[in-house]
Amino acid sequence: MKEPEALLELEARRAAAREMGGADAVAKWHSKGRMTARERIEAFCDAGSFNELGMLTGKGRYTADGHLQDFTPASSVIGNGNVEGRGLMVVADDFTLRGGSSEGAVAEKWIYAERMALEFRMPLVRFVDSVGGSVKILEQAGRTKIPGYALWPSTALMGAVPVASVAFGACVGLGAIRAIGAHFSVMVKGQAQVFAAGPPVVKQGLGHDIGKEELGGHQLCTQVSGAIHNVAEDEHDALSQVRRFLSYLPGNAWETPPRRVTGDDPKRREPALNTLVPDNPRRIYAARKIVEAVCDTSSLFEIAPGFGASLRTYLARLDGHAVGVMLGDPAVMGGALTRAAAQKMERFVDLCDNFHLPIVNLVDQPGAMIGLDAERAGTLLAAAKAGAAIEQASVPWISIVVRRAFGLAGSMLGPWNGPNGTSLNHRFAWPSARWGSIPIEGGVAAAYKREIEAAPDPLARRQELEAYYQRLSSPFRTAEAFGVVDIIEPADTRALLCRWARDAARLTQTQLGPKRRSLR
């Protein structure tokens, strides 16, 4: 039987869409070692699970008598697919069509995908590869418009469903915002740049000659500005990082994170932790060994390892339950809460609170970073906002003070009141812990300035006073007053945390739904 003409036309239009920017453009793209939008989706989703939507969107050219001459597809591919059996929405820019720019885009299409993620409460994944706006859309539309997209639910999405993005190549203007506005973002090393405007615009506006990698490459974005969380070695690595990220998260804010039993003994003791923290308080140690020892084997996934690294943030598992872990790292900036670390903390706490990931805080906090550079950077404002995020978090929380907890930043080890004013402030300590409003060394020098100066041997007097205060600051004295729930043997930390993670997972089942927050 002969196919009806309309069906033939449907197939012809679909075939044109599958060709993307055409054989030459695709070959050129492949020669750069890059996957097309469709290949990226195929590599990302479970085999055969992707269901494309809007394949017929684009621009048809017609003969004078109204017959289709040719068809150029829109520069994004959208649809729903599965990752590890769970549904999500994907939006993938197609660079082979006019650089993925607005010129070749049909905004309604990619916005529809984002709205569908919101309405169907599915995670959203963006594969960004777009040079941004093109002046040629003025000619197409015959007018200019006030910038923006009325129906794009970019902020609402962030409270409702996990949003992840991959910066595959150029991410300029709107492309940059779509890459950055995610709970987890990753960029491909040497291949992706994220900026408000690229080198030609910077040259014209400011007269600066600067290369695109220097202006918005991975070093700037993941180590200096923090605009993007992680770096990927290549495209496949980027996709696997997003899959890994999503594996810890629920499909939306109304669900609990999936549990994955790893078989790792929840009562496993780690005697090496008993001697990890050096007696000399000035000595650093390998803080990462703590999280490696206490979390389920191979369950650690570090978010933003290059940014604000005096605070390390991980998604991890405790007896199979997904949790967020914060860890003070004394090897970076002495562990101080820098502006970058504070911003990282705020985002991480929000992520965990949004998606019911109980938070483990392993504290070694000397305080907010001090000095002129830190003051100029706005460290205090960033710290205050991080503190507010902690106070607004209602997700189960446990803190273990590993070593230091001093000053304003030291007070931020967990919610004191919580949004309902009933936070338990569940906190423990290792015997190596010391805390206080101010550290003893500087505190003694300030409070006893005159007495020390007047002493026959000022140095000896200062040391004597310091030793006296050190004895007073034994954590056991704090425990006597129940200022800390317990001081534990470090080797038993995993057992304590796994027990808590089971209780916490039960609690989160009663706390589902999106979180309301006031201004911070």
Binding site: R282, I284, V332, M333, G334, G335, A336, P366, M369, D373
Partner: protein, 72 residues
């Protein structure tokens, strides 16, 4: 081999200089200890190499990312 400058990872005061010009060192070896936030933060070799210049001395103040040594 090219000269490489080694920056301090942190703002602070040079507390200990642990090597001399001319010494051959391995990746991870410590050049200086910089005191910051009451901690001793090591400035370490990013790779194997020989120290060709030491740009700061004990008790000098250093800024984050300030070059403190050169190696080849």
């Amino acid at each position: 081999m090219a000269i490489e400058k080694i920056p301090s990872p942190v703002t602070g005061i040079v507390w200990k200089q642990l090597v001399q010009v001319g010494e051959q060192l391995a990746e991870g070896d410590t050049l200086y200890l910089v005191e910051s936030m009451k901690m001793e933060i090591p400035v370490t070799m990013p790779r194997d190499g020989r120290v060709t210049a030491l740009l700061v001395k004990e008790e000098d103040s250093v800024a984050e990312n300030q070059d403190v040594a050169e190696i080849e």
